[in-house]
């Protein structure tokens, strides 16, 4: 048996503005889902948050009691998960679930809540919403279920929505519809969105800013166009080159040697250095700090000197 403490995410800091979509990307084991779970206080035991703070609209929410946190979740933070069936109760009709969620967080009469539930189902694009409000989750297709989950996440008018791989289980034609829906609804309502995904294409089309995670740490944060066209961090650059594209021809894809380290064996210094083509002395010894400049942040020793000179 192995014992000891594993650090799944380490010193991750970012902020999301109102109406902004932050895409958190990384490969499996990068710590993106744990980051989302830490924000909403749902880290599965024996895991726990050992340091740092989470602020929602300026107010700290990381030290709240379980009861207070439950109010925050669902009311001020909505959640959309990969599998819509994990968010929906199979024993209640979708209308009842929406009404119950709204009434437990907002002061509404039953009739008013029902009216709003119906309006919301229409807004997320459920055809014949009037007839389907009484239907049960199993009576909907995968794409329609995810629409219901989006309605459920937004019904209490949250300030933040955490979408963890919301379209990974869906076919591309349905994925495009769901992404457009999330984008439109959150823009209209000024809801901040944290979109967690492994799919660079999805964030490229949906997010305003991207945070690239590697081995539980932030590698690079920046506006979408900068990060995709001119990635700074060697890992981000490798990731972009590794993706086959629909437009550009490449006979060979950029190959990042090796694989993401296990949590029990995160390398000293920069976690990426054993796979990095540019690694030099400080990378093996010192962990690179997140350097800021020009609205972008990157954690890489390559950029230390120049960015200091610029400032």
């Amino acid at each position: 048996m192995r014992r000891g403490v594993l650090t799944a995410i380490d010193g991750v800091s970012f902020d999301i503005g109102r109406g902004e979509i932050l895409g958190v990307v990384g490969e499996s084991g990068a710590g993106k889902s744990v980051t989302g779970a830490a924000i909403i206080g749902l880290v599965d035991p024996p895991g726990r948050v050992t340091g740092g703070e989470v602020r929602l609209a300026g107010e700290r929410i990381d030290g709240l009691s379980e009861e207070e946190m439950r109010q925050v979740r669902g009311c001020r933070i909505g959640m959309i998960f990969q599998d819509p069936l994990t968010s929906l109760n199979p024993l209640f009709s979708v209308g009842d679930q929406l009404v119950e969620t709204m009434r437990s967080h907002l002061d509404l009469s039953a009739g008013e809540a029902r009216r709003r539930a119906l309006a919301l189902l229409v807004e997320v694009g459920i055809p014949a919403a009037e007839e389907r409000i009484g239907a049960y989750p199993h009576e909907f297709s995968g794409g329609m279920r995810q629409r219901v989950v989006i309605a459920l996440a937004l019904c209490a008018e949250p300030e933040l929505v955490i979408a963890d791989e919301p379209t990974t289980a869906l076919d591309v034609s349905v994925q495009a519809q769901i992404l457009a829906l999330i984008k439109r609804l959150c823009r209209d309502r000024g809801t901040a969105v944290m979109l967690v995904t492994h799919d660079m294409g999805v964030v490229a089309h949906t997010a305003d800013r991207i945070a690239v995670m590697y081995a539980g740490r932030l590698a690079e944060v920046g506006p979408v166009s900068d990060l995709i066209n001119h990635p700074l961090h060697p890992y981000a650059a490798g990731l972009m080159g590794a993706i086959p594209s629909l437009e550009q021809d490449a006979s060979r894809l950029v190959r990042i040697p090796g694989a993401m380290p296990r949590l029990s064996g995160i390398p000293e210094g920069c976690a990426f250095h054993p796979r990095c083509p540019h690694a030099f002395d400080p990378c093996t010894a010192q962990r690179p700090p997140l350097i800021e400049g020009g609205g972008r942040q990157v954690a890489c020793h390559l950029y230390e000197r120049p960015s200091e000179a610029e400032q």
Partner: protein, 330 residues
């Protein structure tokens, strides 16, 4: 288009019986139900080329793959590999020879390797099954050679599958496919369980091996970018039928079938960032009760009366009444 076809699939269909139990049917007065997973599919794969089959869930692409390797018999139609029929009864020796030359790489590298076998035994199984090595030393040497071919170490021989990552397991699966000197490899979503950086490694490996040994691939994937990257020719499937087939570049540059166009619009690709959100309607209908006529007509912006009644034939690489009639469809 210059090579000879290795694989010829002609008018292949596969139906599955999805009826409920007999007694239930009797009480409920229900008829038998058939799922027509694949209907009248025809294509060829040329030597040393990659044929990509794309489609969303329920399109029947995996069923086609399973029929091509002989895991499932087709309900109708014929499959010939190097001129030898997989479907018609023939001399057993012919088929034994044939089987040696076809191999399959599955989607889930966690399920396709026997967890109780060492890598050595997994890779050597086809060598032993086809009697390709006359002594253990020769077999061992061959395993070492295969391991280094796919980028693993000879020392990995004595390890078990659980000691490897997903990407490494997929390398083992590829080594096993090559062990019997297979020339034709069917890859069913070989990288969809892998991370992008690992996916790139596997796709590059597949290409290198293809160049080196002149391998022929049938690549099944839902990921259009992967198929575009790998395939010479592509077939697009929708609800059991091939709706468009053609040269990979041409198909991506000027997609003709409305479904292919919709699919290409729907893919979020980093190179097409900033284009307006695609206007896509509807979802894939159930393959148990597909729409009559052209199965895509309820979602098609160009559908008219004929599309609702008559199944379009695959003519000149595309199965669409609107394209055939030269109707404005752009």
């Amino acid at each position: 288009m210059n090579g000879e076809p290795v694989v010829q699939v002609r008018g292949v269909s596969r139906h599955f019986d999805v009826s409920r139990p007999w007694l239930t049917r009797v009480f409920a007065g229900e008829p038998r139900r058939q799922l027509k997973a694949v209907r009248d599919v025809t294509f060829e794969v040329e030597r040393a080329q990659t044929f990509g089959l794309v489609g969303e869930s329920g399109s029947g692409k995996t069923t086609v793959a399973r029929m091509v390797v002989g895991l499932l018999p087709p309900t109708a139609g014929s499959i010939r590999i190097d001129g030898v029929s997989l479907t018609a009864p023939g001399p057993p020796a012919d088929r034994q020879r044939l089987r040696r030359r076809i191999h399959m790489v599955f989607q889930d590298p966690y399920a396709s390797l026997n967890p109780r076998w060492r890598i050595e035994r997994i890779i050597a199984e086809p060598i032993r099954a086809f009697g390709l090595a006359h002594s253990n030393e020769v077999a061992t040497e061959r395993v070492n050679e295969l391991l280094s071919l796919v980028g693993l170490h000879a020392a990995d021989r004595s390890r078990f599958p659980h000691e490897f990552s997903g990407g490494q397991r997929q390398r083992v699966a590829i080594a096993r496919a090559l062990a019997s000197s297979a020339e034709f490899i069917v890859c069913d979503e070989p990288t969809s369980a892998l991370d992008v950086s690992v996916q790139a490694q596997i796709l590059n490996l597949m290409r290198d091996l293809q160049e080196r040994f002149g391998l022929t691939y049938l690549l099944i994937s839902h990921d259009l970018a992967v198929v575009r990257h790998m395939a010479d020719r592509i077939g697009v499937m929708y609800l059991g039928r091939v709706v468009e087939i053609g040269n990979a570049r041409a198909l991506f540059r000027t997609p003709r079938h409305p479904y292919t166009r919709m699919l290409l619009d729907a893919v979020p690709d980093i190179s097409t960032r900033g284009r307006p959100d695609p206007d896509i309607a509807g979802e894939i209908p159930s393959p148990i009760a597909p729409p009559p006529g052209c199965a895509f007509h309820p979602r098609c912006p160009f559908a008219h009366e004929r599309c609702r009644n008559e199944v379009p034939a695959l003519l000149d690489g595309v199965a669409c009444h609107a394209v055939h009639e030269g109707r404005p469809a752009a």
